[in-house]
C-alpha cells in the first residue's frame, strides 16, 4: 500500500473551533496543499487532459469547502468524493462535446491544445529518464482509461491515493464489498494491460 505522507499528515492538525476562522483557514490550506498535487495527477490520469484536470481540481476545492465543518478525519474521503464527481462530470461533458463535433465532422482542437511550457520535464531528472517516465505515465493513463469507470475509480482512490477501503467506499458512495470487487477486477485488467512493464 502506498504511504500517504502528504495526505495523512494534514488531518492530524487539531480541529479549530468554529469561531476561529484564521486557524480553520490555515488547516484547510494545509489540507488542500497536501492533496492538490495527488488530486491533479489522479484527474490527469482519469481525464487524459491537463487543462481539464486542473479545472476539475479547482472545482473540487471550491465544492469541498462546503464541507469544511465536518471533522478533519473525513476530509480526505470528502475531497476525493467531490473530485471523483467532478471528473465524472467532465467525462460526460467531453463525451457530449465529442459526439456533437463528430456530427459536424470536426476534430476537438481543445484536446490537442496543451501549453508546451507546462510540459517541461522535472529539472531534477535527466532527459532520457524524464522521457521514459512520461511515456510510462501516458501508458498508465491509457490503461486506466480503458477500464470501466467504477474499476478505474476504485483503483485510483484505493491504490494510488491510498484511501482505506472504508474511505474509498465513502468517496464512491458504495459498499466496501463493491470497492474490493472493483479493485480486484481493475488490478487484474491492469496487470494484463501493463504486462510489458515487467
Amino acid at each position: 500500500m502506498v504511504a500517504m505522507d502528504g495526505l495523512h499528515t494534514a488531518p492530524t492538525m487539531t480541529r479549530p473551533g468554529a469561531h476561529d476562522a484564521g486557524l480553520e483557514t490555515m488547516a484547510l490550506d494545509g489540507f488542500l496543499a497536501s492533496v492538490e498535487r495527488r488530486g491533479f495527477r489522479m484527474a490527469e490520469l482519469a481525464l487524459g487532459h491537463r487543462e481539464d484536470a486542473l479545472d476539475a481540481v479547482q472545482d473540487a476545492m471550491v465544492a469541498f469547502l462546503a464541507y469544511r465543518e465536518r471533522p478533519q478525519a473525513e476530509w480526505p474521503a470528502l475531497f476525493f468524493a467531490v473530485l471523483r464527481s467532478r471528473i465524472t462530470d467532465r467525462h460526460r461533458r467531453n463525451a457530449v462535446r465529442r459526439r456533437v463535433l463528430a456530427v459536424f465532422g470536426r476534430h476537438d482542437a481543445d484536446e490537442e491544445a496543451e501549453d508546451p511550457l507546462a510540459r517541461l520535464p522535472d529539472p531534477g531528472a535527466g532527459p532520457d529518464q524524464a522521457d521514459e517516465r512520461q511515456r510510462a505515465w501516458s501508458a498508465l493513463g491509457a490503461a486506466l482509461r480503458a477500464l470501466p469507470r467504477r474499476q478505474r475509480e476504485a483503483f485510483l482512490l484505493r491504490e494510488l491515493q491510498g484511501l482505506s477501503v472504508a474511505e474509498a467506499a465513502i468517496a464512491m458512495g458504495c459498499s466496501e464489498g463493491s470497492i474490493k470487487t472493483h479493485l480486484f477486477r481493475a488490478q487484474a485488467a491492469l496487470r494484463k494491460h501493463l504486462e510489458d512493464w515487467r
Binding site: R37, F40, Q58, V62, E69, L117, P121, R133, L160
Partner: protein, 138 residues
C-alpha cells in the same frame, strides 16, 4: 530475473509524478487553492452546507405565504347573492281590504271587463300543422 509488479511500478510512478509537478502546473494549483479559500472566506463558520439551503427555503416559504394572502381572500368571500346580504323585503299585503281588491288600482278595474270577455270568447278551431315539404327524393 524477478521484475517488479506492474502495479507496484504504477504506484511508484504516481508518487514520482505527484512530487515532480511542472512549475507552471504547481503555480496554477496554488492559485486555485488560494482562490477557492478566498471565495469561501466570508462564509467561514457562518453557514454549514445545510444552513445554506435555509435561504432558498425561506424565500420559497415567503413567496408561498404571499401567494396565499393574494389568493385566499377572494376564496373566502361568500357567493355574490350572499354577499349582497338578505334580499330586500317584498311588501306583502296583509290587510284584508287590500286582499279583497279594495285597493286595486282603477286602470286594472278598466281591464277587468276586457279580460272577462277574452276568457269567455270562443276559440277558433285549431288547425293541424302544415306538413313540411322535403321536396322530391333525388
Amino acid at each position: 530475473m524477478n521484475r517488479p509488479d506492474p502495479l507496484a511500478r504504477a504506484r511508484a510512478l504516481f508518487e514520482a509524478q505527484a512530487e515532480a509537478l511542472e512549475p507552471t502546473t504547481a503555480a496554477r494549483l496554488r492559485a486555485a487553492r488560494r482562490t477557492a479559500l478566498a471565495e469561501a472566506g466570508p462564509r467561514a463558520g457562518a453557514a454549514a452546507p445545510t444552513q445554506r439551503w435555509g435561504w432558498p427555503a425561506a424565500g420559497g416559504l415567503l413567496t408561498a405565504a404571499l401567494a396565499l394572502l393574494l389568493v385566499a381572500p377572494p376564496l373566502r368571500l361568500p357567493p355574490p347573492e350572499e354577499a349582497a346580504g338578505p334580499a330586500p323585503a317584498v311588501p306583502v299585503a296583509t290587510d284584508p281590504a287590500v286582499l279583497a281588491g279594495a285597493g286595486t288600482p282603477p286602470e286594472l278595474d278598466e281591464d277587468a271587463a276586457f279580460l272577462l270577455w277574452l276568457g269567455e270568447a270562443p276559440l277558433p278551431p285549431a288547425k293541424p300543422p302544415a306538413p313540411i315539404d322535403l321536396g322530391a327524393p333525388p
